[in-house]
């Protein structure tokens, strides 16, 4: 369903000077901070809980609940802002950082006030030079104007927001790897437990790690209230949300739509959004939530962009990245391209991921090069099963973080749906082997996901 709900966080994108303090103040900027500071901190937390704001980074964890995790009486607490956007297909946080940095800074301040966070670190992906520049400019302006730093708006609320930046590593988007990187180390995820940095995080202290888009929603929630936010969207997916639709559509773009009610078909086909598959072609497959997500097909188009419904159908909304493939797409090559990403970006800490993703990539490359053997497909699935036992959704892990299992999604999706394309490449029928458990690649994608 296409609704007339108005955007929340992309409202300034139309202005050329949307990144400046002047424009920000002229369009309601820092009013959310004032509204928040007029309440006791605990009430601000309650507003965010009422809003049911889900984290927009990929895991979709409720932000208000996460804020409740720091143990009592352990200080200081830190905020780490995850601006390391790099999941293939995802293009939203960069826009929020480049085009409305003050909105993000205001969200950071509201979070720090509410949860009692003594210092904030805004970690921007290394490759995003303009986002770093805009944030540096915005912070310099905000410090000079008294919005950030000591005695904010002449109150006793004081917090520094420090711009920090990475140097090229996808895995640093994983929150414990991000903390490692911020501590000056190789960006490798930490062993769990502890499961939540909110308990033990940066410098072993309670640390809230929030995504850029998540925080960018806070000024609106502070101004308009949690109930107004929760009135938008549906079920477990409240508010508005940014989705980047790329690939074979007429108008690829980033659209902020009502979460939970807009469907994939709306986004892909409606003239006000993507206007259909390019050149009048048929849809072959689409990735509903970033490269890690199992693929969807035509029968999934009418699903709403709602976390629960998409999860039940066997995939995830992840980072709000939809990648559309038309009927002419060579799925074996597309599958290889996604797997290659995870192979390159594996940090090397866990053996099943370090070795497994590399083997998957090499076997797929061999198949594409015309040297594949029929048993190669079984081998792919066998390796997948070692990285993620049972090849199911949500995935089981033999690894510390979900990067390894993410390489399994495209293979399980492509082989289960387009077995004949693999058979054409390897020149023979593809048999499955008996020791592979689950129905992952013999059943339909819906069954594969346990739906």
């Amino acid at each position: 369903m296409i609704t007339d709900a108005q955007p929340i966080i992309t409202t300034r994108f139309g202005y050329d000077d949307s990144h400046t303090l002047e424009r920000y103040l002229a369009t309601g900027g820092y009013e959310g901070l004032r509204a928040a500071l007029r309440k006791p901190p605990a009430q601000v937390v309650d507003e965010v809980k009422t809003a049911s704001l889900l984290g927009r980074g990929g895991a979709g964890f409720p932000a208000g609940v996460k804020w409740g995790f720091p143990p009592a009486n352990v200080w200081p607490r830190y905020l780490v802002v995850n601006g390391d956007e790099s999941e293939p297909g995802t293009y939203k946080d960069r826009q929020l950082m480049e085009r409305d940095p003050h909105q993000l800074i205001e969200g950071i301040l509201i979070a720090c006030y509410a949860v009692g966070l003594s210092q904030a670190f805004l970690y921007v992906r290394g490759e995003m030079a303009l986002a770093q520049e805009r944030i540096a400019q915005a912070l310099n302006e905000a410090y000079a104007a008294g919005y950030v730093g000591k005695n904010i708006l002449d109150t006793d609320f004081s917090v520094d927001v420090v711009l920090t930046w990475g140097a090229g590593a996808y895995i640093v988007g994983e929150e414990t790897a991000l903390i490692e990187s911020l501590e000056g180390n190789r960006g490798m995820p930490r062993l769990k437990p502890p499961y939540f940095p909110a308990a033990i995080g940066l410098y072993q202290k309670p640390t809230i790690v929030n995504n850029v888009e998540t925080l960018s929603n806070l000024p609106w929630i502070a101004r308009n209230g949690g109930e107004a936010f929760a009135a938008l969207g549906a079920e477990t997916s409240r508010g508005m949300r940014m989705f980047a639709v790329s690939g074979h559509v007429n108008k690829p773009g980033v659209y902020e739509v009502e979460f939970g009610v807009t469907t994939f078909r709306d986004l892909i086909e409606a003239p006000i959004y993507c206007g259909g598959v390019r050149g009048g072609k048929k849809l072959k497959a689409f990735i509903p939530g970033g490269a890690s997500a199992p693929w969807f097909f035509e029968e999934h188009l009418d699903l709403p962009l709602e976390a629960g419904a998409v999860g039940k159908a066997g995939s995830m909304l992840g980072s709000g990245a939809i990648v559309v493939m038309d009927e002419d797409t060579d799925v074996v090559r597309a599958c290889h391209r996604v797997v290659r990403f995870f192979s390159k970006e594996s940090c090397g800490k866990c053996t099943p991921c370090r070795e497994g993703t590399a083997w998957l990539e090499q076997i797929l490359a061999r198949i594409i090069d015309g040297h594949g053997r029929p048993e190669d497909v079984d081998m792919l699935l066998d390796i997948c099963d070692n990285i993620s036992p049972g090849i199911n959704w949500p995935p089981r892990q033999t690894t510390i973080c979900p990067l390894g299992p993410s390489a399994v999604s495209p293979i399980a999706s492509a082989v289960s749906r387009f077995r004949h394309e693999f058979e054409a490449y390897v020149g023979g029928p593809v048999e499955t082997t008996v020791h592979m458990t689950g129905a992952a690649y013999t059943a339909s994608p819906r069954e594969m996901a346990g739906a």
Partner: protein
């Protein structure tokens, strides 16, 4: 091939002062070294180690994890052509092939005049603008082969002074004026923040 200049050492110390633990400045300092020298030299890592009070080997240990840090000289312009899934679907591979032909080098190579290095790159978050590329981490969206040729011509002719040499990222540095600084929160000196109480921080009754 150098340690930090006096000016850059001052910038380095300012960056270090913002973190509760000095080592957190490691990545920003490696970027600063790369900005100074075009790539990350042994001498710079030695100097960074001294500033952070850790071994140079530890600096290398971290830096070698991150692909933006170049241990050897690269071209003045590092061209990253995205070939991840969205760009792959929209002609990213063909763009990379074209770039190889146009520059006369293979992916991973540097032109003899030291002007260009070329890399096939993973997703740079411009997926709706595919195919895309970066030159020294500045974005170029929806690049046709002709666009690419023009860009190369302009760079060769020195017509793109908006793109500084490799190593330079953001051109504005964050500055925290001393009188405005809240101060670092050291992990070992924590008390409950003063504003965290049952009453609002802002008591005025102005319009929201």
């Amino acid at each position: 091939m150098a340690r930090f200049t006096t000016e850059n050492e001052a910038i380095a110390r300012e960056i270090i002062s913002r973190y509760p633990v000095a080592r957190s400045a490691l990545i920003p300092l490696c970027h600063l070294a790369q900005e100074q020298d075009g790539h990350l030299t042994d001498d710079a890592m030695q100097h960074i180690g001294e500033l952070l009070d850790i071994e140079a080997a530890e600096v290398l240990g971290t830096a070698s994890f991150y692909e933006m840090f170049k241990r050897h000289p690269v071209g003045r312009y590092v061209v990253n052509v995205c070939t991840s899934i969205s760009c792959f679907l929209m002609g990213g591979d063909e763009l990379l092939e074209h770039a190889e032909e146009r520059l006369g080098i293979k992916e991973g190579g540097t032109t003899e005049d030291g002007l260009f290095s070329l890399e096939g790159y993973e997703c740079i978050a411009a997926c709706t603008e595919a195919p895309c590329l970066q030159v020294n981490y500045r974005y170029f969206h929806k690049i046709s082969h002709e666009d690419f040729d023009r860009l190369v011509d302009d760079l060769r002719a020195g017509r793109r002074d908006d793109i500084p040499p490799h190593g330079h990222l953001h051109q504005t540095r964050q500055r925290i004026p001393a009188e405005r600084a809240a101060g670092v929160a050291r992990p070992d000196d924590g008390g409950q923040p003063v504003w965290l109480r049952d009453t609002p921080a802002l008591q005025d009754s102005g319009s929201p």
